[in-house]
């Protein structure tokens, strides 16, 4: 109702609904500026979508290769969660002026492609530890890092739809990381298996360092964090 200056009868009501209020409540401390412009946000989201796709494809493919029934079921469940994340990013891209989402659905760089190839290399039924280590001790922690950096540095007002998706996705990532880490701990029973897990993790971490993270250099800040503020 427009303000006409005429106050209707307030009766017993104490609060005046026509009293001017600040546009932002006192507890709302969101900031307008952010680290990423539209293009940079879209570029990162394209990288996220590609990486989530590779992850759900790998999890789905591994289901048939792991003999442990509990692991088999978890992989099937997590496969869907990462597919859903890819779908959220796929839907966000056109909202960031990328009408052909496939154009930006790309790996951050060649090193990221090599990381995926190395992560998906284990196939034998005796390699469940390696499969899980690649996903839950390397890939997902890097997702959590990149998503957290994005959530904490993008504009809290202009890029609110991305932040909302990031919050849903981060909840999944933390839940899945916990599931995966507990599976790994339950599978590792000997010092030799500790060494196997550590060796595979080291190999993959080196490739991830080369890639610079899920969205390339600057995934969690520093050089290449990019975008206009």
């Amino acid at each position: 109702m427009p303000c006409t200056g005429v106050r209707p009868h307030l009766g017993g009501i104490v609060a005046d609904p026509y009293k001017p209020r600040a546009p932002f409540a006192p507890w709302d401390r969101r900031e307008l500026p952010g680290l990423f412009d539209v293009e940079e946000s879209a570029r990162r989201i394209g990288n996220y979508k590609w990486a989530e796709m590779k992850l759900f494809e790998a999890l789905g493919g591994w289901v048939a290769t792991v003999p442990e029934l509990d692991v088999k079921m978890r992989l099937g469940t997590h496969c869907y969660k990462h597919a859903w994340h890819a779908e959220l990013w796929h839907k966000r891209l056109p909202e960031l002026r990328e009408m052909n989402p496939e154009r930006l659905t790309q790996p951050a760089n060649d090193a990221m492609v090599r990381f995926i190839e190395a992560m998906t290399e284990p196939e034998a039924p005796e390699q469940t530890i390696e499969k899980l280590v690649g996903v839950y001790r390397v890939f997902i922690p890097h997702f959590i890092a990149a998503y957290t950096f994005h959530k904490n540095n993008t504009s809290q007002i202009t890029d609110a739809p991305t932040i909302r998706s990031l919050q849903f996705i981060l909840q999944d990532e933390f839940d899945d990381w916990r599931d995966g880490e507990m599976l790994i701990q339950s599978l590792i029973e000997t010092p030799e298996e500790v060494d196997r897990a550590a060796a595979h993790q080291t190999r993959l971490e080196k490739l991830m360092i080369e890639a610079g993270g899920i969205a390339g250099p600057g995934s969690i800040g520093g050089a290449g964090a990019g975008g206009a503020s």
């Binding site: 759900f56 789905g60 493919g61 088999k72 099937g76 469940t77 496969c79 190839e117 196939e123």
Partner: protein, 298 residues
């Protein structure tokens, strides 16, 4: 990780025993093979003398079937390149693989990932139901024919074989088990089967929708896919285990199939194939009995 995982390498722990379909059906605890005098109906109902063992056997069959369905859906997420994924196309090219023939829409893969989650829940449900029914993992053998249907290198044939033929069978099986739970006064069983049934109708509908969409301008491919589905339907009507006849333990769930996108003609075709399989099985048994009588008389 390879594309197209061979069925004989499906990973299982030490409790599982994998056998052929023929071996599985020859299991004396199997629903159609009995020493007792012939009954009017073989339908799985609580009043059947062997109802308890037959229901446990069927539940174990559901359990291993769900594992293979999970594996099949997962492999479809992995085996085929997503349309527009230029990085994967470059990888395929580098490995000398045909990078265009197997591309599938992104949304199809999302459906398969969703199906993988659904099947994972079904494994969880059927493990708990098996325990509830007094059975345990490995009590019955596993035949891997379901996963074989998920090994086609054409994604549309795979969808026709798995989502329409096998998941269609799952609709029939869950309907029968749901009715069994109702008749047996087991609301726990009935409740769980009803939830799984809802998922299966969704999976069959996914298969029906994708088959129509992807082959909209490719009638030859659609024909080939429907022929493959028919082969799988016949395979899974092995021995008439599933048909409209009361002689089959599992009925044909016409109403739910309709909800899942089957046309009336398609349902009639499956009914005919199933009845034919039942008649073949009966003729085969009659031949074996005649041979046995001749042998005994000689």
């Amino acid at each position: 990780m390879r594309k197209f995982f061979p069925v004989e390498e499906l990973a299982r722990d030490s409790r599982f025993n994998q056998v052929t379909m023929k071996d599985r059906m020859a299991d004396p605890r199997s629903a159609l093979v009995k020493d007792e005098p012939r009954q009017k109906s073989n339908r799985l109902v609580p009043s059947r003398p062997d109802a308890s063992a037959a229901a446990r056997g069927l539940m174990h069959g559901i359990f291993v079937g769900e594992i293979q369905a999970l594996e099949g859906a997962g492999r479809t997420c992995h085996d085929f390149r997503t349309a527009g994924d230029s990085a994967r196309r470059a990888q395929d090219d580098a490995h000398g693989e045909d990078s265009f023939a197997d591309a599938v829409p992104f949304a199809l893969k999302l459906d398969m990932a969703r199906q993988a989650w659904d099947e994972a829940r079904h494994v969880e449900i059927s493990v708990k139901l098996s325990d509830w029914m007094g059975s345990e993992i490995g009590e019955f053998a596993e035949n891997t024919v379901l996963f074989q249907a998920a090994c086609s290198t054409d994604p549309i044939l795979r969808l026709a074989g798995v989502n329409r033929a096998l998941e269609g069978l799952a609709i029939d099986v869950f309907t029968t088990m749901k009715e069994f739970g109702d008749l047996a006064g087991d609301p726990y069983l009935e409740f769980c089967e009803d939830w799984m049934l809802a998922d299966e109708v969704t999976h069959v509908k996914m298969g029906s929708d994708w088959l129509r969409r992807v082959t909209e301008h490719d009638p030859d491919r659609r024909k080939k896919a429907l022929e493959f589905q028919s082969v799988v339907d016949k395979l899974f009507s092995y021995g008439g285990t599933r048909s409209d006849s009361q002689e089959s333990p599992i009925g044909l769930a016409r109403r739910f199939r309709e909800l899942a996108g089957f046309t009336d003609d398609e349902v009639e075709d499956i009914a005919e194939v199933s009845l034919a399989a039942l008649e073949e099985r009966k003729a085969s048994v009659a031949r074996m009995q005649a041979t046995a009588r001749e042998f005994a008389a000689s």
